[in-house]
């Protein structure tokens, strides 16, 4: 069974298409990251999948349940971290967790031990009886993530989970996500701008822009799609005036050359075959080669290319990402 399956999922706000014919298939125990600029349709997608908004066209199944007629069951089986931590600031961390535990019908006898357990996991035990309003932004976010996971949902939607966290706290969250996927086969659907995190964490990523899915695959697959854009950097100990001519004679495209830093960046069509022969030629021609480095396209570069290809991201609208 797929954890999430959308077919031509579309949401319109008046004339604006916030989500446009989205087709997704997310397997169980997968970490799927949806990347996109502000206003691209990420939050609207999650809101439809959690039953907060109704699709205008198309539909979706969440945990095998149709979102058009099983909303309450879907809501009780998924966890949802909204864009803001949204804690009750006058209540303590314990009271916040206890309240949501009751909304999600966690058995009374399990609430207390589970609170103790989850605050340990997220390194919050000393803050348990503090009012949520006194916590730092990062701690509030940790409590909100703990709240989204508290009722042990099978599928967890996280909107910018580590946006306000310190690197150490973000690491704790990432570790917990990976642990829950591996040990308990939970599925995570993450909306994020943090590309390096998506690359480290996700089994697959989708890039959404203007409500349309413009690319999808594992970070490796996306890199493969852009492998012809791998840049090779040759760095020298001394700069030779004929460097540019050397690469031109070999019919190799120069992307950048920097005389001060003594390097040249080129695009080699067949890296495996051509790189050794270029090194040989450079050595024979007395170029003082110090370093050769292949710079494979990062997810960030791929993402920016897809987003730019689709045009300038539109302005954030009040229906989206609000």
């Amino acid at each position: 069974m797929l954890a999430v399956e959308t077919k031509n999922l579309t949401k319109m706000f008046h004339k604006l298409k916030a989500v446009d014919g989205l087709n997704l298939e997310i397997k169980e125990a997968e970490i799927y990251s949806l990347l996109g600029p502000n206003g691209s349709g990420k939050t609207t997608t999650v809101r439809m999948l959690t039953g907060l908004l109704r699709p205008t066209i198309g539909g979706a199944r969440v945990l095998g349940l149709d979102i058009s007629d099983n909303l309450q069951e879907i809501r009780s089986r998924v966890g949802h971290l909204t864009e803001t931590p949204a804690l009750y600031e006058r209540l303590t961390v314990r009271q916040n967790l206890d309240f949501f535990a009751k909304l999600y019908k966690v058995p009374e006898t399990e609430i207390k031990p589970r609170i103790e357990e989850i605050v340990d996991l997220f390194e919050l035990p000393e803050k348990l009886d503090e009012p949520a309003g006194t916590l730092s932004k990062g701690m509030k976010q940790k409590v909100a993530i703990a709240r989204a996971m508290f009722h042990e949902p099978e599928l967890i939607f996280l909107d910018e989970p580590t946006a306000s966290l310190s690197p150490e706290s973000a690491k704790v969250i990432r570790e917990q996500i990976i642990k829950l996927v591996k040990k308990e086969k939970r599925t995570f659907f993450i909306c994020t701008h943090n590309l390096s995190e998506a690359e480290r964490l996700s089994s697959r990523v989708g890039i959404i822009n203007h409500g349309r899915l413009v690319a999808q695959g594992s970070p490796g697959e996306l890199r493969e799609m852009r492998k012809d854009e791998t840049v090779t950097v040759f760095r020298f100990s001394t700069w030779e005036s004929n460097t540019k001519e050397f690469f031109a004679d070999m019919k190799i495209e120069i992307v950048e050359q920097n005389q001060e830093q003594k390097y040249v960046s080129v695009i080699i069509k067949d890296i495996e075959k051509q790189t050794p022969s270029i090194i040989n030629s450079l050595t024979k021609n007395n170029f003082q080669l110090v370093e050769v480095k292949h710079e494979f396209p990062t997810l960030e570069r791929i993402y920016l290319e897809f987003v730019e290809l689709e045009g300038v991201p539109r302005e954030e609208n009040n229906m989206e990402e609000s």
Binding site: T50, L52, Q72, R75, S76, T82, K105, P131
Partner: protein, 273 residues
């Protein structure tokens, strides 16, 4: 409807409310003001006048006599000063009954618009709560402090008034059957109606402060309603009072339905998040 979820909302809202100094001072201060300050400032000056020096003026019309002779067994032998005090006590009791209208405007602003202002509404809407559970929870959490405050005010008011008026009437005025009906039937219904109207207002305002201002507009028609109910009883009959209760019940049911529509996720996410 899952009562456990409703109870969780009520408990959470009450905890939050009683940690707010503003709400706490309104819930405690308003009944004290209405129950102690108003009778002392209006009735006491009349009580303090020497009976021998009191000039009664014209006699009350017959319908007053008919009505109050049912309330005070010795109405005819009660002097003019005592009779005026009895009538004024009833009028002031109506002021006490404004508490269940005014207090929910404060508490509901906090629990409903407060969720919107503090951006906690989306997490609530994303939970498995049904619209009816959410509205019921919100009504109860505003209703409980308001009814408790009204009951407290009514008891204190009755105590003070009885102490002041007893020497003139030789009988206890409150809590009689009529005031009990107002306290336990009319006041709770008005409270519910007030919260439901505040839920409707919540879609139009973005802050608790705006809600207080707009809430005062809600209070006005309800005040007219309570005066209408009192008048209907005094000048028409018990049947008119029963009719008024029936109208209140119908209004509560209609506005409950409208309020649950406000929490329809699609609409709420646009208006309340």
């Amino acid at each position: 409807m899952d009562l456990g979820r409703v109870k969780a909302i009520v408990k959470k809202d009450l905890r939050e409310m009683f940690k707010s100094k503003y709400i706490l001072s309104a819930v405690i201060g308003m009944p004290i003001l209405f129950a102690i300050f108003i009778p002392l400032s209006t009735l006491y000056p009349l009580v303090a006048i020497d009976s021998n020096e009191f000039e009664g003026g014209d006699e009350f019309p017959d319908y007053f006599k008919d009505l109050f002779s049912q309330v005070i067994p010795n109405w005819d032998s009660t002097g003019a000063q005592g009779q005026i005090l009895v009538i004024m006590s009833y009028i002031m009791y109506i002021v006490v009954l404004l508490i269940p209208i005014i207090l929910p405007a404060v508490t509901a602003s906090e629990t409903i618009i407060g969720e919107k202002e503090r951006k906690t509404m989306e997490a609530l809407l994303a939970s498995p709560l049904s619209e009816a559970e959410l509205v019921t929870g919100k009504i109860l959490s505003s209703f409980i402090p308001s009814v408790a405050g009204t009951a407290f005010a009514a008891i204190i008011y009755s105590l003070i008034t009885n102490i002041m008026i007893y020497p003139f009437t030789n009988s206890l005025l409150f809590l009689d059957a009529l005031s009990l009906v107002f306290l336990f039937v009319i006041a709770p219904l008005l409270s519910i109606l007030s919260v439901e109207l505040m839920i409707l207002i919540s879609t139009r305002v973005t802050s608790v402060r705006d809600a207080y201002q707009l809430g005062s507009l809600v209070v006005l028609p309800l005040m007219m309603l309570i005066i209408g109910i009192v008048v209907s009883y005094f000048f028409i009959s018990v049947i008119a009072l029963i009719g008024a209760v029936a109208i209140l019940l119908t209004l509560c049911a209609i506005f409950f339905k409208i309020a649950t529509n406000v929490f329809d996720r699609e609409r709420a996410i646009v208006k309340l998040v």
